[in-house]
Amino acid sequence: MIKNEQLMIVSQKQIAESIYELTLQGELVSEMKQPGQFVHLKTGDGYEPLLRRPISISSIDNEKKQFTMIYRAEGRGTALLSAKKEKQKVDVLGPLGNGFPVEAAAEGETALLIGGGIGVPPLFELSRKLTEKGVRVIHVLGFQTKNAMFYEQQFSLLGETHIATVDGSYGTKGLVTDVIDNLRDNFAAIYSCGPTPMLKAVQDKFQGRDVFLSLEERMGCGIGACFACVCHAAEGAGGKSYRKVCSDGPVFPAGEVVL
């Protein structure tokens, strides 16, 4: 169930260039069931900025009623958010959207998790949930440069982790696809979140397999009412059938929407 609550900041710290890790606490956390969902945050108090900011959930601690987000302070809203300190409150609407299906991979099977940039965070909770039930995970994470990289250690603790940087400052030089081409495992499920060209490459590479893609789009309401974040559905492409990224997604099985 979607709730609206003032959550308290437990911690906020910068973990890479322009990248922040923010942990909040409150009752709303008990509604978070699935990795890959997101929350809609008010970053200011008045009308500036006016709209909420959609930010993905990177980990959930139901016992402590805490959840963590990793976001890039890029525009006005996220810059304001990054200036908030411990004990301050943040207005949260969520959890929103449909996340990754953990059940697509069974115990003993292998899952491939592919993330690009600020698309990496939701894969962390997914990886935790998969490994919890005995799924072997392989992570392929892409960043622009070493300074923008985060959570390599945390992912490594859960499973094999490959890093690619566009400028070659760390790991494989190039894109995540350059790493994937060399992987020889048999994957029961492939999960991905990141820029659309990357998602498209993943979809093309693993045709006919169980692939789940998390999309990003500018949003208005975040709950499906405003039709801002609509994309074409694959059935009758270019036609009138559609999906709303916020409420039908953000995670879709590959092939369901036009990338």
Partner: protein
């Protein structure tokens, strides 16, 4: 006693607060937050004869205290709205105002005739900000004669009262208001969004895929208020006011300006509970200003002036 009830053509409103068209879908999303029966009315998303996908994305861009949108009237089309959305809304005790859009007079007439037959549709809201494809794409709402004509034709076929939603993107909104009144409109809703744009500093190109979009939110409130204030003094049909309303105080300003009821738009995106919050706060606000009933406040901004002027004369 209900201090908030308002009677308008076709509409017995429990209170003067309703979500604005395009900011509430067909109500489904907001029904998970509160009982839609608590609303004065619901203005549903614009309906066209055929399904429309709308514009490419990005469809929204944020601006100072506002937002731009260029959704492009995405909707499932008349048939599905009648069969799926309006029937679903029947479970709530709330009058529906159906927003009707089209690209030629025939479209408006067809949609109005059919949708006005739905049992829970108590009024129509004509969206005359749409481009008229037969007149080179000039919006119906920008030329008085064209606005009057489409109003007159829709009035002939509608089973329920017809409200016309005015575009602020005109040189004289009073002239358009007078024209639709003479075309037989039962009421006016105003204002629609103000045309605007934003440019991406990195690319130097417009942010919206559609280049331009409609500005809404608190940023447009002063403009909307001024227009309601002016129009109310030149027509005798009621106004449902809108444009940046986010609080009970905002709503009261519009009522003072001359609106008989108000619609809340963009604020629903920021706070899904904004409509019931305003409804809860209005009685206290009435008490604070010393009014026994909301209707006493309608047009107080200029009616007082007039009363004073008459007294002096």
């Amino acid at each position: 006693m209900n201090t908030l009830s308002i009677n308008l053509p076709g509409l017995d409103l429990k209170n003067p607060i309703m979500p604005a068209s395009g900011c509430f879908g067909f109500g489904r999303e907001y029904s998970q937050f509160y009982d839609l029966s608590s609303l004065g009315a619901i203005m549903i998303k614009a309906t066209t004869a055929e399904p429309r996908f709308g514009n490419p994305t990005p469809r929204v861009a944020e601006t100072s205290a506002g937002m731009l949108n260029a959704i492009g009237l995405q909707n499932p089309g008349l048939e599905k709205v009648l069969e799926e959305e309006l029937t679903w809304l029947e479970q709530f005790d709330v009058p529906i105002i159906a927003n009707v859009a089209g690209s030629c007079e025939e479209d408006y007439v067809h949609v109005a005739r059919e949708i006005s037959k739905a049992p829970n549709v108590h009024a129509l809201e004509l969206n005359i900000s749409c481009p008229n494809v037969k007149e080179g794409g000039i919006a119906f709402g920008t030329i008085p004669e064209v606005a009057r004509e489409v109003t007159r034709k829709v009035k002939q076929v509608s089973d329920v009262p017809v409200y016309v939603k005015l575009s602020p993107n005109v040189s004289s909104i009073v002239e358009i208001a007078k024209a639709v009144e003479s075309g037989g409109a039962d009421g006016i809703t105003m204002i629609n969004t103000l045309l605007g744009m934003r440019i991406d500093l990195r690319t130097g190109k417009p942010v919206l895929a559609n280049t331009t979009g409609g500005l809404s939110g608190p940023a447009i409130k002063p403009v909307a208020l001024r227009m309601v204030y002016e129009v109310n003094q030149h027509i005798s049909i009621p106004i449902i006011g809108m444009g940046g309303i986010s609080t009970a105080e905002d709503a009261m300003e519009f009522i003072y300006a001359g609106a008989s009821a108000v619609a809340v738009g963009t604020a629903n995106f920021v706070d899904p509970f904004v409509c019931p919050k305003i409804i809860d706060e209005l009685p206290g606000l009435l008490q604070k200003i010393g009014a026994a009933h909301i209707s006493e406040c309608i047009g107080r901004s200029w009616k007082q002036n007039e009363a004073i002027a008459n007294h002096r004369a």
